[in-house]
Subunit: 135 residues, 4 copies
DNA sequence: GTGGTCTAGACCACA
DNA sequence: GTGGTCTAGACCACA
């Protein structure tokens, strides 16, 4: 469900927060949905429970998640079905900017980038198993 | 020449290293080229000289830069004109994977992403001034 | 465990690196052994933590030490029990060369040098408390 | 006449100062003897003249050398024929201490060290051309 | 002018 | 508790 990369420069708890926010914004995590427990996630990703816990805590403070004593945390009700498209697009801005900068510095063309995206897009999990469907 | 973002999760010195590597890989920084001095870069980006110095240092250990006592550091000779396209493409992999993951989690389409790229691509400096030329 | 001399021309972080390398080469620091924490060493030698940190960092890049998030750094597994005698001898080469040069320039004899070594050898800690046992 | 190693941690000007002091202490550089010119030394060792100049200057301040307008610097008169043996021995102390520490950390024996010294001692220039005379 | 080393001290990520 | 990053600023070696 989540992809956490401890090697990446970005702190693990931030990676998790960002991904939860996105799944909530898109409605894939609907209000009321229970999240995996801290322990479960920690085990699955071989990460310290406190790291997961920190992400959940901050998301609760943000109002994205709700804490339910003795039960799993759930997605808060606030968000309507889905954040407006414009808002979700804005959440991609930073990522796109970085990618474009990287491509230009590598003297690669827009076409190269689009092809790469095309390629990754087909991957089951967002890019770990390469199983291209079409060129 | 470089774009450093202190807000980003990625440490500044790593951002700089990555960008130098890319410019060297693409041949935009040719072997023998002198890099901006530590102080110069530090001033320009309102960053501590030691932060720049750390990046340069690590790049020297990596063999990307050469130290010249009392004179500016230069790009090492090793790399031929330009790294092969395949290798440069691979350097974009991680960025693309992240972007695709983000888009999917936001339930945005490939088309949305490509449009955003299109948009950022036109920006003068890799993404700071928005001056769209065409849709 | 380590002897750091801030007066010496050699940067402190390099002195530390050299000593760690030697203890690892000799097997006195076995693979898996935890090193003293950055803060501990810094306190003990009245040195800035960043100085110690820099040495540890570079040793990690060299592959001598391993970083364990949130836990002390450890000696990497790579080296077998002990580096071969020949290799360890080669690590003394530079030191010996310098000493011989110094002795010759002072017009002292090989015998003088050997006596001095004999003398320092008996010292508990490698040369700080003079407690000669025999001539 | 001098051996300067830019790689060594020790600053070049200090290496030079130390060697001049030793040759003077031993009487190999007698009072009145002219030293090589700054330029000459700089050329020979591929080093910036200012570096040599700095060493000479500091040695003049120390009273070891004399400046002679328009003519080469010379060894000052102060020192008698040769510094007393005890004093010269003390000048080796630091070097010996370092060597003994290194040997112990490498788990090498006093005998190993003495053999190495024996070996280097035969070398013409203090250790660059290996021309052993005897084991 | 160049880069290198070090300090004192703040704050962060992770266990 | 562990190490990592960064700052502001001093001083050094070398060109």
């Amino acid at each position: 469900m989540f992809i956490l990369n401890p090697q990446s420069g970005t702190p693990i708890y931030r990676q998790l927060m960002e991904q939860v926010r996105r799944l909530v914004a898109s409605g894939q995590l609907a209000p009321g949905t229970a999240l995996p427990s801290v322990r479960e996630l920690a085990m699955e990703h071989a990460v310290n429970p406190m790291t997961i816990s920190k992400a959940y805590n901050l998301l609760e403070i943000e109002g994205v998640l709700l804490r339910n004593r003795g039960k799993p945390m759930t997605v808060a009700a606030r968000p309507r079905a889905q954040a407006p498209r414009a808002k979700r697009l804005r959440q991609l801005d930073e990522e796109v900017k970085q990618l474009v900068l990287a491509a230009k510095q590598l003297e690669l063309g827009k076409k190269d980038v689009v092809e790469l995206i095309d390629e990754k897009w087909e991957d089951e999990d967002g890019g770990r198993n390469r199983q291209r469907t079409r060129a």
